[in-house]
Structures are given as C-alpha cells and as structure tokens.
Amino acid sequence: MADWDEISEALADYTISCNENQRLRKMQRDWSRMLHFVCSDTPQTFSMDVVRGEITSTQQGHVGVPDIVVTATSETFCDMFWGDLNPVQKYLRGEIVVKGSQEDVMRLDAISYVIWPES
C-alpha cells in the first residue's frame, strides 16, 4: 500500500507533466472538472481541480462537489500518476472504477496517453 507521501510525490510529478504539456493543455482547453480519488485499500482520499486543462490544485481529502470519482488501490494510483501503467487496461479489468460521464472517462485516460504515449 502506498502512503500519502508517495501519492503526493506522484501527484506532483503528474501535475508538472500535465501542465507543461502544451498539446495536452490545448486539447483539454474546454475541460474543467473537480476530480475525487478514493483509495480502495486505505482510508485515503484526495482531490484534483482541473481548470481549462490546467491542474490548479491537488489536496488530501475531498473538496467540493465532484464531476468524476475515481476508485482504485493506492498502488494503482501511484503507478498511474507516474505513468507506469496503462489506465485503460486496469479500467477494463474493473480494477479502476470511475463514476462520471463516458466523455470524462476518456478525457481522463487521454491525459495519460498524451503525456506518456508509450504507456
């Protein structure tokens, strides 16, 4: 199981990778969402605020009303934010559970795909 330090380190790297990717920023320019994450193996929860494609904040606990809720193990979250796993494979196996519209589910995966095309 990954603790909050590991998750926040992964999140920090993910935030930089996303925000520095100009193609991604352009692609997600009309995408503003509040994301909630729930660890299924620990009591940890955290939130991510995306405003016009830019990750403006990530913090522990749930903030505001979510547009998307993602549930997975803490290890899966860490690997996903480091770009070390393919989120779609986990999603299609039911190991990542997403609550949100189909469009948002695809947009979420698109982030990983654009910043780590080989994942």
């Binding site: 380190e9 193996d41 609550k99 795909y113 080989e118």
Partner: protein, 479 residues
C-alpha cells in the same frame, strides 16, 4: 488485496448526473432509429395486419426478460466497460472480445442504415432522381463526421427532447391515421389482413424494434443511482411497444403490404396516406430527427469502444490517436467511411431489409449470450447485487434457449417473404463473426506482444523505488 482490508467509501453525489427521464430517453432513443420503421414492415411480412401488434406485444414481454437480465449484470459491473467485464468473467476474454467486436458491427449497420434511409426519404420528398439519395447519404455522414471530429456533443436535454418528440410525433400521426382516415375500427376484422402468421420470426423481428435499448447501461457510471438504469431498462421498452403498436396498426390500415415491402420509407407512405403532403413532411422531419440520436449515440459509443480497444492493445494504436478536440479521429473517420461503404452497398443492391434481419439476429445472439453470462456468474460471483432476477437460473436458462431459437429463426429468414428460407442474413453474420474471431486469435496476440515490447524498450519505470512495505507481492505495472 483481500476483501477484509478494503474500505467502503461513502456514497458520493456527482455534480452532473443522469436521472430517470434522461436515462429512459437515452434507452428509447438508442433503440428507436429510422430503421425501426422498416422493422415494422419486416414484422408485417410474418404477422399480417393487426397480428403484428400481437407479435410486438410478445416481443415486448420477451424484452422485459432481457431488461431483468441486463439489470442484474449491470448492477454487478456498473461501468461503461460492463459488457466486456461480465462476458470476460463468464466466457473468457478472447470470446468476449470476439463477441463485442461483432456486436459493434451492429452500430455500423445502424448508422449505415439510418444514413441510407434518411437519404432515400429526403430524395423521395424532394422528388429527385434516385441516384441523388447517395449524395444525401454522403452529406449526412460528412456532417456527422465533421461534428464528431470537432467534438460537438448534443446536450443530454436535447437528446431527451428529440427522443420524446420522435416517439410522440409518430404516435400522434398513427392515431390520426387510425381514427380519422377511413375509420379503421368501423370494420376491425379488416385490420387483421391476409397472410400466414409465423409467430417465431414475427417475434424475432419485433425484438429488433427494441434492439440497443440495453446500451443505456454504458451510462451507468453517470447515473444518479444504479436504480435509474434499471428503471430505464423497464420503462423504455414500454414506450417503444406503445409507439410501434400504433404505427404497425396504422400502417396495415392505410398502406398495402405489396407497396410497403418495396419501399425504404414506409413512414412517409403512412404520413402521405394520413395527411397528404403535411403528413409526409411530418414523418420526414421525425426521420431526420432520429439521425441526431443515432449518429450522436452511435459514433460516440463505437468510437470510444475502438479507442479503448486500441489503448488496451487489441487494435492498432493509431486508432487511439486524438486530435486537438480530444476526439479519436481515426476511429471516428473509419466509422464514417465504413458506414458510407455499407450504405453504398445497400443503395446499390436494394437489400435494406437484410440489414434488419442481420441486426435482429445479432441482437438475439447477444441476448442469448447475456442470459448465458448471468447463468454462469450466478455460480461464480457471490457478490451482492443491487438488482437480482427472481428465479434467475431457470429464467436465464429459458433465455439461452429462447434467444438461440429466435437467432436461428431470424438468421435463416427471408426478410421480405415469409414463405421462403434464406441463408443471406446468417452468411453475413458468419462472415462478421469469422473475421472478428480470426482477428482476435491471430492479430491481437501480435499487437499485444508488440505493445509490451514497445513499452519495455521505451523507458524505464519512473516511480522511485522505496523500502519494502507491508504490501509484499503488490502487482507490478504491465502484469
């Protein structure tokens, strides 16, 4: 991770979520396409006159069983990828992939059929030469392609309004046709028409009217509660049953079958017979409106499926490429091109009722496989279900037998003539199934090996290694 160390998160309400009315409209809208008007003609081939209404009613009862089966499966796996998950767990991943590839071809068939039918209807009303129908088909698909590539999405409320407008508009014109033109009920027995009633084929084609209503399960992740989807799965078939019944009665009252089976636009013939040019334009408007749901829903469902399959490594990775509107452009373009080719073949051969037969047979096969999945998962998965079908095992067994019989009845039926046997629908399905299976067995393993090699060669694992923690044996990426 074991069941003991998992944490049950508190229920979370999404800012935007799908409620009952929208889910029902989505389900009914996905099912009620322009091809359904032709579906009624296919039923009339086997159930003349008012007996078609009986077939539609029996079809509706059978669909309630389908609703219950899919409600339980959707409750077990409430995700857009649900169909892959429950089929994969029940009958194996490879078989599930072959089946879903074949299933997705029905989306292409419906898009192609709708493009063809709308093109033919527009050409008919504008009194243009027959060849211009294909120009309209190309224009419609080009508009749909351009809108999809630009990431234009029809808002949920627009889809809801469109669906209820189409259903209500069709019902009103049908009722007008029945009660105000020629007094259908002055001689009610005349409504029964002449011909042979072939029950099993008639019911199989009636099932096609409801086909795709179960795709609403792909919106499970945005539903306010799982019950929203369950309710939609039960209410939408009732709406379709009501509309299709009055339409079939009106059609058999005012338009002869000999005229119908040669026409690609029976709804326009009914509109004209009921209210002249106004009625014809009325039905044309409704036909064009169905395209909004078909093209929006069809392109979205199929292109996202292709994207996910490419990201998973089951299709060439080029299909996952996104344009600057975050749209998988190659997937969307390929769908439009294949639909245009299918529509051209239908246009050239005039075999539009064959599409109905193929679609109906594939749906029956999917329902049979869904019943089988339920039966298997009842033994394998002990998890609590939000919806549980009463007498699930016997009913699922009954479903497997019934839908297999209906598949055979439809796949070997001549859609135009009840007295003739035809292998054409089965041949098309067999070819599609064989291509899907060969692809899954021969090409997918190569693609997956190539993807794994590419990932391994491209860069090392990025996540920093930490001191060993309590989760010894945690899964490594790529496993």
């Amino acid at each position: 991770m074991t069941g003991d160390d998992s944490f049950e998160p508190a229920p979370i309400t999404l800012r935007r979520s799908v409620g009952g009315a929208t889910a029902t409209a989505t389900s009914a809208g996905l099912a009620f396409a322009a091809i359904d008007y032709l579906g009624v003609v296919s039923i009339l081939a086997y159930a003349p006159g008012a007996t078609a209404a009986f077939a539609i009613f029996i079809g509706g009862l059978v669909v309630i069983l389908v609703s219950a089966i899919f409600s339980e499966l959707n409750g077990l796996y409430p995700t857009a990828a649900g169909i892959r998950l429950y089929m994969g767990r029940a009958i194996g991943n490879r078989t599930a992939l072959s089946v879903t590839f074949t299933y997705m071809t029905t989306v292409v068939l419906v898009i192609a059929a709708d493009a063809f039918l709308i093109g033919a209807a527009v050409r008919h009303v504008l009194n243009e030469p027959a060849v211009l129908a294909y120009v309209w088909i190309a224009v419609l698909l080009a508009i749909a392609l351009a809108a999809n590539l630009r990431g234009v999405r029809i808002a949920g409320w627009v889809q809801t309004v469109v669906t209820y407008t189409v259903l209500t508009g069709t019902s009103i014109l049908s009722v007008v046709a029945l009660f105000h033109v020629g007094g259908a009920f002055k001689h009610p027995f005349d409504l029964f028409g002449r011909g042979t009633f072939s029950g099993i084929q008639a019911v199989a084609f009636a099932l096609f009217l409801y086909a795709a209503f179960e795709w609403v399960t792909t919106t499970a992740e945005e539903a306010r509660t799982p019950k929203v989807i369950t309710r939609a799965l039960f209410i939408a078939p009732v709406l379709i049953w009501l509309v299709a019944t009055v339409f079939a009665l009106a059609l058999s009252h005012l338009v002869g079958y000999s005229t119908l089976h040669a026409s690609a636009y029976p709804q326009l013939l009914l509109g004209h017979a009921a209210l002249g040019t106004v009625g014809e334009l009325w039905m044309l408007a409704l036909t064009v409106l169905t395209a909004l749901n078909t093209f929006n829903g069809g392109f979205l469902v199929a292109s996202r499926f292709i994207y996910a399959a490419a990201r998973e490594g089951n299709l060439p990775r080029q299909f996952a490429r996104l344009n600057l509107n975050a749209v998988p452009w190659l997937a969307v373009t390929s769908l439009a091109v294949v639909s245009a080719v299918v529509a051209a073949v239908v246009f050239a051969t005039g075999q539009w009722l064959l599409l109905v037969s193929v679609g109906a047979a594939i749906e029956c096969a999917i329902y049979a496989i869904g019943s089988l999945c339920l039966l298997i998962l009842r033994s394998r998965v002990e998890r609590q279900r939000p919806f549980k079908l009463i007498a699930g095992r016997p009913l699922a067994t009954f479903g497997v037998v019934l839908f297999t019989l209906l598949f055979v009845a439809t796949a070997f039926a001549d859609p135009k003539d009840s007295s003739r046997f035809s292998v054409a629908p089965f041949s098309v399905i067999a070819i599609l199934g064989a291509i899907s299976t060969a692809y899954v067995l021969l090409v997918v393993p190569k693609l997956q090996r190539a993807a794994a090699a590419r990932t391994a060669a491209s860069r090392p694992r990025r996540r920093p290694t930490r001191a060993p923690s309590s989760d010894v044996g945690a899964e490594q990426p790529g496993e």
